[in-house]
Symmetry: C2
Subunit: 284 residues, 2 copies
Amino acid sequence: MRIIESVTEMQQQAEAWRREGKRIALVPTMGYLHEGHLALMREARNHGDEIVVSIFVNPTQFGPGEDFERYPRDMERDVLLAGEVGVTAVFSPPVKEMYPERYQTFVEVMEVTRPLCGRSRPVHFRGVTTVVTKLFNVVKPHAAVFGEKDFQQLTVIRRMVRDLNMDVRIIGHPIVRESDGLAMSSRNVYLTPTQREAALNLSRALAEAEQLANGGERRGPIILGKVKERIDSNGELRIDYAELCNPETLEDVIELRGPTLLALAAFVGSTRLIDNRVLKVPAE
Amino acid sequence: MRIIESVTEMQQQAEAWRREGKRIALVPTMGYLHEGHLALMREARNHGDEIVVSIFVNPTQFGPGEDFERYPRDMERDVLLAGEVGVTAVFSPPVKEMYPERYQTFVEVMEVTRPLCGRSRPVHFRGVTTVVTKLFNVVKPHAAVFGEKDFQQLTVIRRMVRDLNMDVRIIGHPIVRESDGLAMSSRNVYLTPTQREAALNLSRALAEAEQLANGGERRGPIILGKVKERIDSNGELRIDYAELCNPETLEDVIELRGPTLLALAAFVGSTRLIDNRVLKVPAE
């Protein structure tokens, strides 16, 4: 497995692979890899001959006061784990390599970045779409795999790829959960045992909502009421949002008439966690 | 020569060329081709085996009240001319193909889009960088050729390509002028004979400024004063801007200490013309 830190070197390697007719699959990450990331890498092997994992804690997707500085990092362990699942190259550029002096270009998706996480993190998605565009131009992948835990991110990236005619196939991978239901996240390391216990209410609320929908409930406010009740019942949790929306456009859904995204964000102490589930309502 | 209107078809053709080891050179245009465009195409032959000319009057780079609707078009003639200079393919997508329903993604370069044309055309460069990104993703060129008449556009595109790590070589081509000095532009067709005569004062003002600089004048305000005097002397002309700036950063220059861009924009009737010259001041 190669470790590449230079943009030019990565581009040359990608071009060489392409000339040999190899297909490249990319898994973009911010490192501190967990089983969720590894599942994306295994999925990537179905879509490429050469698997590249990028490990880059991207400063432009963190807002002021967010956890860029303290975001967990462990490159040595990440490289070992990536090697074990058959990754060909780790691309881990220094920040200066990605954002040199006088850097001033951004890619921005409009409507679908506004609701949900976009409301409390106004510059977040601009940072995500900018860095993903850069990674695509550097790694030149045929396919890229993203987790569905960041459901809005996946929607935003699909929209960007379609709008900008990027010739990259975007693969979504289902959320990987701990055995007790907590969605895997590098940020789970921030949680105390009590907070970790409290955090379980997110996945429980999603499961309860699914039961309601499966039982025929179609009224969004009823479902959201139940979800908020569950989360508010725990004093450690503070809801950022709980919303029902169209999985493609992210427009609000009041009455469920087809597959509907239930998306949650909540603070546990100063840690912000997200989780979601697509309620499998049959299309009318 | 092929004429391609579909994004997918163009991408497939580009991929096929790349697999054969061919190099692709792109000349993006809004059509209504003149000798300036043809010079770019001839230059492109030095940088690619397959030459693609895109002909697309891009709505997103026109502001409200600008000339999108009346911008001159003549596809039949354009195709003939492109064929004569050895172009391999004309890519001329319909607007709906480039901007389908729900389109919502933009590429934006910040600092270098603010001065000069950016001041009077606030959404212009966002439209340019967005469509050029799309064209690059569709045509997959190794090199792209742009004219220096739109000097700020060239600076903005170079900045975008560097910032977003686009693996495309950007070639600038010197301004092509009519025998009397008028910079070639598709918009020259708007001019009445009197306006056309008045418009010559732009290139004359640039030539006089160059004489001053060659004669040792280093004080920006003196040079700009002379330029404005020349343009104001003609009642048909109304200055939009006349500025001296650093050719790379486009920051204002007060005292000339190296190569300096002198950029002009002026209205002749309702037609807005631009012209420029890099004053070859030896770097201190």
